[in-house]
């Protein structure tokens, strides 16, 4: 058995920041007769290139395995030191950084003797981790340079166009007969007032002409197998069905306009329309009614749907101005709780509507407007919060602006792709900085499927999703460790010791990413981890009764030994 002394310890003086407080020499002496340490050195400011080069040189000469560096925190200069050494050919699993500056010296300045003792313990804990940790085995899968885009709305079309332009084979699958999604239902696109066809023209042209893009009309997805890099998606068009393979999937299934059932006497009185019906009339031709009232936030921003659908206000402004444009003498008023038109274009759009004579009346959620009339709507009474008086508006037509709501289970996509929905039914995305990535690697999302958006925002999200998908499928193969969707690599990939696993399924149920599955291994049920899906969070490790599933980078022995060495 070769001698166990394989670790080189490097203590950084850090321009005196560390060495002034703790006694590095005593640490060095204690380290030299540590059963694991072959040599201990004190160096200065390892973060400088020259010193780093010198250090990596001595490491390479000594040829022994592992290096422990006691210096500043990773967030300070620690990471750059580690990255520097890695670039100089030292395997990351052989490196361990012990944070003795921020973690010990700077927070115990007034107790140097105690700080030295603590530094010794921290170095021992670092050694416990260093001699035991490994790098998870990285598996790679070949990538198909193909992307499936589900839904040919503005988002899907934009994604398809940009991906096609990048030379990636695209399969654009549209459930309906014609592309365009919800834009087909509307007369003009807010806020730039162009027709839906002109808005989508460049993308439709790209879809037709670009040979890379194959378009499947009135086709829906029957099933999805496989993982990132090689999804096998079976499409169903009427009876004929066939399977295509793709490296990534972009979900652009959009949302659906909500019908205001049972609100404001909808369907009870003639003249009370939903916003979609108004769009149909506007598309057909000029509207006869002269006195029109729009009511905003119908069935939105309330207990059931605590969200603002972001498109109703701009759409109502557009329709109101269109009506005023046809009949300048028409009285158009918008009853609203708040007009939400973020951004300069929409703000300008709002002011233009005011200039065009559209009246705006604000009401409170507690007492909404009341519609009166026998079979045809006659008046709308509303308590105007600005003036504090009850207003009565004679109206011929009432338009109810309802929010966009999520498709119930996005036509089974949720189950097939094992995506997760938030409690409002929209697809859940990674929080904070990753709007177009879902919890499942290789599956992206854009447009109203993620959140109600206007057409131009849907298009930008489509292109964003296309770019992210392109980053994924552009390489030859994908490494599981690289799939962390964030900067850098995954911390680890869980590994199951199949002998010890009793097949209880705790890990399968708790994994936030459904990365663990139970399979039969010669008769007994055992758990296996899908390296692509696992993000290395370790949630499964905490519930495994006998510790069969572990993170190789920090397994139970490392933590156990760190606990044992923590207060020697």
């Amino acid at each position: 058995m070769d001698s166990k002394k394989t670790v080189i310890c490097v203590l950084c003086r850090c321009y005196g920041e560390i060495s002034d407080v703790i006694d590095l020499d005593s640490l060095k002496n204690m380290l030299t007769d540590h059963p694991l340490v072959s040599s201990a050195e004190i160096r200065d400011c390892l973060c400088l290139e020259a010193n780093l080069e010198g250090l990596s040189e001595t490491i390479r000469q000594s040829g022994t395995g592992k290096v422990l560096i006691a210096a500043c925190s990773p967030l300070a200069r620690g990471d750059p030191i580690l990255r520097g050494l890695e670039q100089r050919g030292i395997h990351p699993a052989d490196l361990e950084l012990v944070e003795i500056r921020e973690g010990c010296v700077w927070i115990h300045k007034d107790n140097p003797q105690g700080a030295t003792g603590k530094a010794w313990d921290l170095i021992n804990m670092g050694l416990a981790s260093l001699i035991r940790k490994e790098r998870s085995e990285d598996t790679t899968t070949l990538v198909r340079h193909e992307v499936v885009i589900v839904g040919a709305g503005p988002a899907g079309l934009a994604a398809a166009a940009s991906l096609g332009q990048l030379g990636v084979k695209v399969h654009l699958v549209e459930r309906g007969k014609r592309p365009g999604g919800m834009l087909n239902l509307i007369s003009k696109v807010a806020p730039d007032e162009t027709g839906p066809q002109e808005k989508l023209a460049p993308y439709l042209k790209a879809v037709d002409e670009n040979t890379n893009i194959t378009y499947y009309a009135s086709t829906h997805i029957a099933s999805v197998e496989g993982t990132v890099g090689d999804f096998a998606i079976s499409l169903q068009a009427g009876e004929t069905g066939h399977t295509i393979h793709a490296g990534a999937v972009i979900v652009a299934t959009g949302a659906q306009a909500l019908l205001p059932q049972g609100l404001y006497r909808y369907k009870e009185l003639k003249g009370v329309l939903s916003a979609i019906e108004l769009e149909r009339h506007l598309k057909a031709g000029p509207v006869q009614a002269r006195r029109i009232v729009f009511i905003q936030c119908v069935a939105a921003r309330d207990q059931a749907r605590p969200y603002c659908s972001a498109i109703c206000c701009p759409v109502s402004l557009k329709n109101a101005m269109a009506l005023r444009k046809e009949h300048p003498e028409a009285e158009v008023s918008i009853l609203h709780r708040d007009i939400i038109c973020p951004g300069s274009t929409l703000e300008h759009y709002y002011r233009r509507a005011m200039a065009k004579g559209v009246k705006f009346i604000r009401f409170e959620e507690q007492n909404p407007p009341v519609i009166e009339g026998e079979d045809q709507v006659s008046t709308v009474r509303v308590y105007d919060t600005a003036t504090g008086i009850m207003r009565e508006l004679d109206t011929d037509m009432v338009v109810l602006s309802t929010p966009l709501a999520a498709h119930k289970d996005a036509h089974g996509l949720v189950r097939m792709l094992a995506l997760t929905q938030d409690h409002l039914g929209f697809f859940e995305v990674q929080p904070l900085m990753h709007p177009v990535e879902t919890t499942v690697p290789g599956i992206f999302i854009c447009g109203s499927a993620r959140w109600p958006v206007l057409a131009d925002r849907a298009i930008t999200q489509g292109e964003a999703a296309a770019m992210k998908a392109f980053c994924l499928v552009s390489g030859q193969e994908i490494a599981a460790l690289g799939l962390s969707q964030f900067k850098g690599e995954k911390f680890a990939i869980a590994r199951v010791d199949q002998e010890a696993c009793t097949g209880c399924g705790n890990c399968v149920h708790i994994c936030p990413y459904d990365a663990c599955t139970l399979g039969l291994v010669d008769g007994a049920s055992k758990s296996t981890v899908d390296p692509m899906r696992c993000t290395g969070c370790g949630t499964c490790v905490a519930v495994c009764p006998n510790g069969s599933i572990q993170l190789p980078e920090q397994d139970a022995v490392v933590i156990g030994e760190m606990l044992a060495q923590s207060f020697s």
Partner: protein, 175 residues
């Protein structure tokens, strides 16, 4: 073959901690310098708080050691119990706020589990005051420092946990 962590032939150095009988391990570790604590800090928030406390030179009690973990949900309850059995007086698990977990609601599981563990610690008299859990209030340096100081304040009221292991009997035997 996946290396099984239950590697029977772990090198001698790893066994060092175990050779001394538990009873001795209790008092050789008695540093007599007040309560000892292990803090499992989630790498995405609490560790940044701890790092911030370092950068701002906030003076903290000496007897705590931080073990960085990928997520608060990764901390095995058995590690917490093993820490208590090693004579460590307090264990902290600091994670991200609900809904803000980088690993998609993994911290919910940690939250529930630690509530349940608190029940067990209260039952046997170790006291749930020894288990510090904070979700989402430790990523700023001043928050981290405040939580740690308050935790140590609480720990000072508890008797050292070694005493639990060697608690004398009610009618203490003489000799």
């Amino acid at each position: 073959m996946a290396r099984c962590w239950r590697n029977r032939f772990r090198d001698a150095w790893c066994d060092m901690s175990n050779r001394v009988s538990n009873e001795i391990k209790g008092n050789t570790k008695k540093t007599g310098r007040g309560p000892k604590a292990i803090i499992f800090a989630c790498r995405w928030c609490a560790l940044i708080g701890a790092d911030g406390a370092g950068k701002n030179r906030v003076q903290l009690p000496l007897n705590f050691r931080v073990i960085p973990v990928e997520c608060a949900a990764r901390v095995e309850p058995d590690s917490i119990i093993r820490a208590f059995s090693y004579g460590i007086d307090g264990v902290g698990v600091l994670g991200c706020h609900l809904g803000g977990c980088r690993y998609h609601n993994a911290n919910h599981r940690a939250l529930k589990r630690l509530d349940l563990l608190r029940k067990l610690l209260d039952t046997v008299g170790i006291g749930s005051g020894r288990l510090l859990t904070s979700f989402g209030t430790a990523h700023e340096y001043h928050q981290f420092a405040a939580i740690l100081n308050e935790f140590f304040q609480g720990l000072r009221e508890f008797p050292p946990i070694d005493e639990w292991a060697r608690a004398q009997m009610t009618d203490a035997g003489k000799g």
